[in-house]
Amino acid sequence: MYDGDFAVRWMAAVAVAVDREAGRLTELDSAIGDADHGANLRRGFTAVAEALAKEPPATPGGVLAAAGRRLISTVGGASGPLYGTLLRRAGKELGEEPAVDREGLARALAAGVAAVGRLGGAVVGDKTMLDALTPAVAALSESFAAARSAAEEGARATVPLRARKGRASYLGERSIGHQDPGATSSALLFAALEEVAEA
């Protein structure tokens, strides 16, 4: 079972991963976006980790909801509302439960991913974070490792796609051949989750 403390450690691990990979995310974003994805997510998840360290909510739902709110108020761009909605919606779905199992977490994250789809109006194959998130939450009912590898595979699979949403869509055909930065950062979420769960 995974409790509030687990969720706090997950978010802290995401902050570390995003900080480590910020340069790579920005590099990917400069090819088809505006070269700030790494810096923006680092700012957001650093703020999340600080807020959670100071006042950790007791439940995993509370932790994810607080993290989502914090992202919305610190990141900006499209990533802020999208990542914020993912975590806030998942947190809401978990409710007041003091601890959840992996299946419960998978269901909550699936609700979060659905909310991201509604907010951004994207579907799988549009070359967005959904290309990593959607297979990852589906695989999470199997194992944490399966979720991580599905997310990473999904992110890699964005390379040949033509972007249909967000700033990369302005490039038309020229967006083909580049890995989507949002899908790449989404995969970090699941790498961090596996890391904390297996620790």
Partner: protein, 330 residues
């Protein structure tokens, strides 16, 4: 790339401190990133709030003042501001007559302003929104995020701002803004990439002898790369791209906009070519503005924006405005 900055993390805050120091007629909250005209809220007046990523200066903070915006919310460089900023701005400028959010059509801006509108309405502020999407380089289709908001933002903020200053109610100010959007189109080219502080260098490589055709204002590459063209050739291509999409039945407002890294000498020369092409295409020009207004950091290049101006829009254009970057009349 050498930049006149301290560290990348503080460029926006540093600029806001400088803006505050230069313009005592503005109230600048550096911490919370909200720029407000000092006499806000103006009794009975509809308020205009805009915002967007930094790096496009003077847009938007440079357009805060009587006759234009009541408040602006600058985000990080090329990153939409967060909902908290817009909610705070709306609360600071709302006189009870309502607030119009002027939003450039980018996924991030749209999402954050949408969230802000909901939150502000929960706090009892009447909010209307107008989406600016004038860039014809982007096909407005299911397969893109839609046309980008670029140069026409200046027209929307000036003309709707003048309507609000005249005392028009929210519905009317919103209608003026929508009309300006419908009647405005832009097209831009880049002669160099821009360098963001976070990256510390150019956002893409542009080999010598080539230009980016159909660019936005965020250092992203354009629709295609072409061999370098003369000012006259670029004017023809840009004007024709705009006129493909906009058939002005009225004389136009013309904005010849620099992207930040092109000298005024070149921009005025470009304006002469744009006017020549417009004359050849039999499009009369009512008013012209030449300068760096909707920029992309240090990117070299220019954009052309046309707005088909009926009599009311022309009157609103001529109305007094008093902001750091645009001021005329009284």
């Amino acid at each position: 790339m050498r930049m006149l900055i301290n560290v990348p993390e503080t460029v926006v805050a540093d600029a806001l401190r400088g803006l505050a120091a230069a313009h005592p007629e503005l109230t600048v909250d550096v911490e919370r990133r909200v720029v407000v005209r000092r006499d806000a809220p103006v009794a009975g007046k509809v308020a205009l709030v805009s915002g967007g990523g930094s790096g496009h200066e003077p847009l938007h903070a440079g357009f805060v003042g009587p006759g234009m915006l009541d408040a602006a919310c600058p985000g990080e460089v090329f990153t939409s501001p967060v909902p908290d900023q817009m909610v705070r701005a709306a609360a600071a400028v709302d006189s009870g007559a309502g607030v119009l959010f002027v939003v450039k059509n980018y996924t991030g801006d749209v999402l954050n302003f949408e969230m802000a509108a909901e939150l502000a309405e929960d706090e009892g502020v009447r909010v209307a929104k107008v989406l600016v999407d004038d860039d014809v380089a982007v096909t407005d289709s299911l397969y893109t995020a839609g046309r980008r908001g670029t140069g026409a933002t200046l027209f929307v903020e000036k003309l709707a701002g003048a309507a609000a200053e005249e005392g028009a109610p929210l519905e009317r100010v919103e209608a003026v803004a929508r009309r300006v959007v419908e009647r405005s189109r832009s097209f831009g080219v880049a002669l160099s990439a821009c360098s963001t502080p976070a990256k510390g260098g150019p956002t893409f490589d542009l080999p010598p002898g080539e230009l980016e055709f159909g660019v936005g204002i965020h250092g992203e590459p354009g629709r295609e790369r072409r061999a370098m063209m003369t000012s006259g050739e670029i004017a023809e291509a840009a004007v024709d791209a705009v006129l493909d999409d906009l058939r002005p039945a009225d004389p136009v407002l013309l904005l010849v906009n620099g992207m930040g890294g092109t000298p005024l000498l070149e921009l005025y020369g470009f304006n002469a070519e744009v006017r020549r092409v417009l004359a050849e295409r039999r499009v009369p020009v009512a008013r012209t503005l030449v300068g760096n207004y909707v920029t992309s950091l240090d990117m070299a290049g220019a954009s052309v924006t046309l707005c088909a101006a009926d009599e009311e829009l022309l009157r609103l254009w001529d109305a007094p405005v008093r902001t750091p970057a645009l001021r005329w009349g009284r």
